[in-house]
């Protein structure tokens, strides 16, 4: 399990990165954390001719939370998110999600941009970002563009990223103060990719009514899915168990779910419903407590 030979280009700033991508884009792979790319190269599942290493582009590594927007540089390591106080205060969902990503040694290298570019189904951070209101800023020699998560991740291992483009930044519109988040994932072992995962954030207005609800699921769904119909159906007065169960059932029935050798489709749907219901309950109950306090 040794990688095939490649040409190694190390870039020190965004300008060099942009030019290297313009020169080699289609034949190159960007090396950020390498926690997925290097295993694939070791297995020789991918053997790029050129590897562009952007680990020394320090300008892409930051967490900048102000007002109601949080900007995260593409080279920000998962461990930085895990350890970030402002993020865990203002965007608890991301903090919970990141703790479910593999193990600390992997989180010390893995990056926000890397996990987004790979778009592995069942990956936690893309689910959290899909659930929140997130824009992805992409850049190339041709210029910069901004895509919503839904337009960025197209399916399993499939994104809108062009060969000459890199992910520059993630911009998250923070949930309102007093919101509660819940990230529920099921996997057979601690740290594995999710069989099924659900992310929910809920907040209430002055009258205690649910006026902000974000919900998403991943695992067997290709790209993570935001469940807007469910969000609408459950906003307003607190749903009782019946209403919640019906909405969850409808939401999961409406999305495309794939089975595989290990987990058949009907089982995945069953578990998706289970984790979604748990996350909804956690977040709704959590937000109530905050309101009362």
């Amino acid at each position: 399990m040794k990688p095939a030979p490649f040409k190694y280009i190390e870039v020190a700033d965004e300008e060099a990165l942009t030019s290297a991508l313009a020169d080699y884009g289609d034949d190159a792979r960007l090396l950020a954390g390498g926690q997925s790319l290097v295993p694939m190269m070791n297995f020789r599942v991918v053997s790029p001719e050129v590897v562009i290493d952007l680990n020394r582009v320090g300008a892409l590594s930051y967490i900048d939370c102000r007002d109601d927007v949080c900007r995260i540089g593409a080279l920000t390591r998962h461990a930085m998110i895990e350890d970030s106080d402002p993020l865990s205060r203002r965007c608890a969902l991301l903090g919970q999600a990141v703790r479910n990503v593999a193990h600390r040694a992997v989180r010390n290298r893995g990056t926000t941009g890397g996990t987004l570019a790979l778009a592995y189904p069942g990956a936690e951070i893309p689910l959290a970002l899909m659930t929140l209101d997130t824009d992805i800023i992409l850049r190339s020699k041709r210029g910069e563009r901004r895509l919503g998560m839904k337009d960025f991740v197209l399916g399993a291992l499939d994104t809108s990223l062009s060969g000459d483009e890199y992910i520059r930044q993630v911009e998250i519109r923070m949930p309102p103060p007093g919101s509660a988040a819940s990230f529920v994932e099921t996997s057979r072992r601690h740290g594995d990719f999710a069989i099924a995962a659900a992310a929910v954030v809920a907040a209430r207005d002055d009258h205690g009514r649910l006026d902000y609800l974000r919900a998403g699921v991943a695992g067997g769904t290709g790209a993570p899915v935001r469940l807007t119909a469910l969000e609408e159906a459950l906003s307003g007065d607190d749903p009782d168990d019946g209403r919640m169960a019906d909405s969850v059932h409808e939401a999961i029935a409406a999305i495309e779910v794939f089975g595989d050798h290990h987990y058949p489709e009907d089982f995945r749907r069953h578990v998706l419903k289970g984790v979604l219901q748990r996350a909804l309950k956690d977040a709704i109950v959590g937000s109530e407590r905050r309101h009362v306090r």
């Binding site: 095939a4 297995f43 099921t186 069989i195 058949p264």
Partner: protein
């Protein structure tokens, strides 16, 4: 002279410091010369295909590649590996004409380093014509199944029938017949260090030097030597100081030792190969998966009078030594801890397009104990007798030992009721049943499971020959097989320090520490006063056909030899001291490094004695008495099988009482083992800490097989678990909290009274955990008949019930 002292103990082990400082010496750490070539295998991407052509040109053109060999090239210096079953399809370790499993070696690329060798593998051009594959054992046994070995005419490569006592009468007169169908999965113990071989051919002697992280030499050395066409002693087998886990799997490195040695001969240069993880999962070895039916003739009060069993054993694409012994291992403790006096087993080994099988920790034990213990639970369910009570009623009683089982095993000692009671004490003291009720009341699915099993240790090589019929064994010219033996050498150097050499290499068990304890006790010394050499170089280490680290034999056989050698050296020292101190030998005591005349002030230190005996040998009388002693030890009561297929399959038989507590998430159906209790009769405990370590490791191997680890294939023969992302080894997070204790029913037969403990819960845990899952799913009438217990499998049981 009999020394009656407790074994001295130390904190930690003699082995620990070098391993903790990162100074272990594993196979990949050995220095190699600059002429050494590095090997990588091209492996089949198909489960079943004809090799239509191999073009080496592109691979040979790769920078750094020196040679590419296929079966046709290697066949010039390497014969097929002999099989235990005469007439079984040829096994060469590399594909000839056809590939029969994904990962089967097809070619070897030799290059200046491993990176370049893999470049050669990527460039090698092989044309395949795909054939239909078959991976399920029952499907492969069907007449219409695709044939793996066309000339052989069937995929059923071996079958046999064993009958003991009078099963017909027992079943005819039974009040009730309880039967179940079971599937045991394919998995292996997956040592964290993969295989590694460094081989060199010596043309001047027509011999080989092979370094490998091998558990042998034992009976697989002759298999290797035959294939390499040299006498056993022309292979210098060197096992490095440290092995990163072995678990039986490392015994199955032998075909690769043959292939790499053959490469070295053809290339006329040393060749090194370090297996990678993907290769290990695809192409090393595994335990067998087994489909079976087992049924019991049961009396009204729950007593089992006889067992009948039908076994379909999946041995993968080739039947290779030591298979089909996995089936035979089931016979060694056929009646378990119970008095079952009749039985019948019908067994068949079937070839499929999967990784060939071999030794794996517990070898055959986990498969069989799963059947027998699932059966006991089924009997409890059908008779309405409590699961534990039904076991108690069938247990042999302490007064009945030694006890000859119906298959010929000679159980040495035990107190099964007492040992189970000790385990139940833990269960009660830890409040398991209360905890289960509380968790259930809060809506969780929780269950407690039990397994009570006999573990055999120090197996009789003769049990393997049950693969042949009594008629075949009776033929003129047939060499009967029996016994297990080993040696130890001990020497006192001129500075008064003791050094012990044994013929086996450990892989983490702490052999050096245990050997030092045995010797230290004899001489009244501290454990750190003894140096131990526990690595193998067959050029200088004496070995026998049974020498090796397998079948929980170390403490029994090697320990026995060490004890004998130490005692004899002590006798020699007394004789020498008697002339120096002018006192009769039987009045001389050795303790704390001093030689003392009893009831007198006359003494000398071990150092003084050694100095005198080494430097002034001429002035001492008896020159027969030396400062170095070699002793061998053959475990007792081991004969070759009789004409009724009865054999005492092992030197000693311990007992295990295991309990598992399982929780299943009621929504996602993810199971987790919360707690585990294991109280095992291991006979005399030389080192309780090492014993606990062995049992704990075995529990998690069993846990892996029960819930997580599965070498599974899709219908086309693709392995669905060819990486550590999909082959799920349990982590610290999945491992249960454990309460482990040992119970001492000394063996009256082994030198130290020990009973071995290397495999224990690796065999019993799958059964105990399945039993706990049943209990957790009791409201759904859950009954686990197949492992691993996955969330979808539980979901199907629950959905089926509601």
């Amino acid at each position: 002279m009999q020394i009656d002292r407790p074994f001295p103990q130390i904190e930690g082990r003699l082995e620990d410091a070098r391993l903790l400082f990162g100074r272990g010496r594993y196979i990949d750490d050995l220095p190699v010369g600059p002429s050494t070539l590095h090997a990588a295998f091209t492996r089949s991407p198909y489960g079943h295909a004809t090799i239509a052509g191999i073009n080496k040109d592109a691979a040979l053109a790769v920078d750094g590649v020196v040679a590419v060999y296929t079966a046709a090239d290697l066949g010039a210096v390497l014969d097929p590996f002999p099989s235990i079953v005469r007439g079984a399809p040829e096994y060469r370790g590399i594909a000839t004409g056809k590939v029969r499993y994904v990962g089967e070696p097809v070619a070897v690329v030799l290059a200046r380093d491993r990176y370049a060798a893999e470049d050669g593998v990527s460039a090698l051009d092989i044309a395949y014509e795909a054939l239909p594959a078959v991976v399920d054992v029952d499907a492969a046994a069907a007449e219409t199944a695709p044939l793996l070995h066309d000339d052989f005419g069937t995929n059923v490569v071996w079958r046999n029938r064993y009958r003991y006592g009078d099963p017909e009468t027992a079943f005819r007169e039974a009040d009730r017949i309880v039967g179940i169908d079971l599937k045991f999965p394919k998995y292996n113990s997956t040592p964290l260090e993969t295989y590694g071989v460094i081989a060199e051919y010596l043309p001047e002697t027509d011999g080989y030097v092979i370094h490998g992280n091998f558990q042998g030499p034992f009976s697989l050395m002759p298999v290797l030597a035959r294939a390499l066409r040299v006498p056993d002693s022309r292979i210098r087998m060197v096992v490095p100081q440290d092995i990163g886990g072995s678990f039986g799997i490392k015994a199955m490195i032998y075909p690769y030792m043959g292939l790499i040695a053959a490469c070295a001969r053809l290339a006329e240069r040393p060749v090194k190969w370090i297996e990678d993880r993907a290769e290990h999962l695809l192409g090393s070895a595994s335990g067998t998966d087994r489909n079976s039916h087992i049924e019991a003739a049961v009396s009204r009060d729950g007593l089992v009078r006889a067992i009948r069993m039908n076994i379909r054993e999946n041995v993968g694409a080739y039947l290779r030594a030591p298979e089909p012994s996995c089936v035979m291992r089931s016979l060694t403790t056929f009646s378990g801890p119970y008095r079952i006096e009749s039985g019948e087993i019908e067994a068949a080994c079937v070839l499929t397009n999967t990784l060939p099988t071999g030794l794996n920790r517990g070898y055959g034990g986990q498969q069989y104990m799963f059947s027998l213990e699932r059966l006991m639970d089924a009997i409890a369910r059908e008779t309405g007798i409590d699961r534990i009570e039904v076991r108690r009623r069938n247990f042999l009683k302490a007064a009945e030992f030694p006890y000859r089982t119906t298959t010929g095993s000679y159980y040495d000692s035990g107190d099964y009721h007492g040992c189970l009671e000790r385990a139940l004490d833990y269960l009660r003291n830890e409040g398991w049943e209360r905890m289960r009720e509380e968790l259930r009341a809060s809506g969780r699915l929780v269950g407690i499971g039990v397994a009570t099993c006999v573990h055999s240790a120090a197996s009789n090589i003769g049990y393997v020959t049950l693969a042949l019929s009594p008629e075949e064994r009776a033929k003129r010219g047939y060499n009967a097989k029996s016994g297990t033996n080993d040696f130890a050498h001990i020497a006192l150097d001129a500075s008064g320090r003791l050094r012990v050499q044994i013929g086996t290499a450990g892989a983490g068990q702490g052999h050096a520490t245990a050997v030092a304890q045995i010797v230290a006790r004899e001489f009244g010394l501290g454990v750190r006063d003894i140096d131990v050499i526990d690595r193998i170089d067959t050029e200088t280490t004496p070995w026998t056909i049974t020498t090796g680290t397998y079948a929980s034999r170390f403490s029994v056989v090697v320990g026995g030899a060490v004890q004998r050698a130490a005692a004899r050296l002590a006798d020699h020292l007394r004789i020498i001291a008697s002339s120096l101190l002018d006192a009769p030998p039987d009045q001389i005591d050795i303790e704390e490094g001093m030689i003392r005349v009893r009831n007198s002030n006359s003494s000398l230190s071990l150092r003084q004695l050694a100095g005198a005996a080494q430097w002034n040998r001429g002035d001492l009388p008896d020159d027969v008495v030396q400062l170095h002693v070699s002793e061998s030890y053959g475990a007792p009561n081991l004969r070759s099988p009789d004409s009724e297929n009865r054999v005492n399959a092992a030197a000693t038989y311990g007992f295990m009482a295991d309990f598992a507590m399982v929780e299943i998430d009621p929504v996602t159906f993810v199971p987790r083992v919360l707690k585990y209790i294991a109280v095992h009769d291991v006979g005399t405990a030389i080192n309780p800490q090492l014993i606990r370590g062995q049992i704990a490791g075995g529990i998690v191997h069993g846990l892996g097989g029960a819930l997580y680890e599965h070498l599974d294939y899709d219908e086309s023969g693709q392995m669905m678990s060819a990486s550590f992302m999909d082959y799920l080894c349990p982590t610290a997070s999945e491992a249960p909290q454990m309460s482990i204790d040992h119970f001492d029913a000394k063996s009256p037969f082994t030198v130290l009274g020990v009973k071995g403990c290397g495999e224990n819960s690796a065999m019993s845990a799958p059964a105990a955990i399945a039993s706990a899952v049943d209990d957790a799913l009791s409201e759904f009438n859950g009954s686990i008949a197949e492992l691993p217990v996955t969330p979808p499998a539980i979901w199907r049981q629950v959905a089926g019930a509601s």
